[in-house]
């Protein structure tokens, strides 16, 4: 792994800029307002509340399609992030949002199944994904989303993805 004497600010800036490059490279994520919080290699996706996310104005509740999209985006970024981690830490790659070719290719969704557990309230939502199995070609990812309480999920999903081929 990396040099243990590497300055901390350099490590943080490498990881944060790689993550930011991956996220800002996708227009749809920017439009939804999705951000990622990073602790070491652990990512938490954040979907800040916005009126345009509402699917049921009577309750009100977040659109089920938004919840699905948020879970899917979280799964894809987690998978892409995990796949690029080694190359990033060894300095083999340095993704830069201004240079589209420097961005890692993201996995493609094969199928995605969302289990809706509670209606999404008009407030911020969070999600974390876990790569259950990642092979050279296919990967399986589980992802959970919640709002106020980590233990009270609003939705969970499982998806299969096709890994980008070198």
């Amino acid at each position: 792994m990396g040099d243990r004497n590497e300055p901390l600010h350099q490590i943080k800036s490498r990881r944060d800029s790689a993550l930011a490059a991956m996220v800002t490279g996708v227009p749809y994520m920017t439009w939804l307002g999705i951000r990622f919080d990073r602790r070491g290699d652990e990512l938490t996706a954040i979907l800040p509340y916005d009126d345009k996310l509402i699917g049921n104005p009577m309750l009100p509740a977040i659109h089920g399609g938004v919840t699905a999209a948020f879970l899917e985006v979280t799964a894809i970024i987690e998978l892409g992030w995990a796949a690029m981690w080694e190359d990033l830490e060894s300095g083999r790659i340095a993704p830069d949002a201004a240079v589209p070719d420097s961005l890692p290719r993201l996995p493609k969704t094969i199928d995605f199944t969302v289990d809706y557990l509670r209606s999404g309230l008009p407030r911020d939502a969070y999600a974390r994904a876990r790569v259950v199995r990642s092979g050279r070609r296919y990967a399986s990812v589980h992802v959970e989303a919640w709002q106020d309480n980590r233990a009270r999920l609003i939705a969970q999903a499982t998806g299969h993805f096709l890994m980008p081929q070198p």
Partner: protein, 141 residues
């Protein structure tokens, strides 16, 4: 008895009242008896892969989810409201950039409290679906 044009108008109003459906520019093309067809335009800010301009899968999910919900609401048993219980989407191919995306949903079985749905998403090639979905929705009476 309301005529089909009234159904379409009511359905369009229903869609217009959903902020997210409006944000995506959804349009009701057809509605009736547990079926719905809803389409939306391709847009730059909905792109998932800037290298190719292909729309993000999440957008297709939102369209199919809305379309399934509309099909439930259009069922002859007149559910008062509906919510998604689960939705599985198979992504068969990338939607062609710049083309309109159309979802068609059908409520193929209805019980007192649950609706079972099938849907497909198409771009301008009607013979080669972009995605397929199956789902279960609540039917509130």
């Amino acid at each position: 008895m309301t005529d089909p044009d009234d159904h379409a108008r009511i359905a369009q109003q229903f869609i217009e009242a959903i902020p997210h459906a409006r944000a995506l520019g959804m349009r009701v093309d057809e509605i009736g008896a547990g079926r719905a067809t809803i389409s939306m335009p391709w847009a730059e800010h909905l792109v998932g892969d800037p290298r190719t301009g292909v729309i993000h899968g999440g957008v297709v999910s939102a369209l199919m989810d809305t379309c399934c919900g509309a099909a439930v609401m259009a069922h002859p048993t007149n559910p008062r409201s509906t919510a998604t219980i689960d939705l599985r989407i198979d992504y068969m191919r990338a939607a062609t950039p710049g083309q309109r995306i159309t979802a068609r949903a059908e409520c193929y079985h209805m019980t007192r409290s649950v609706a079972f749905l099938r849907a497909v998403a198409l771009d301008e090639d009607p013979d080669n679906p972009v995605a397929a979905a199956t789902g279960a929705f609540t039917a509130e009476r």
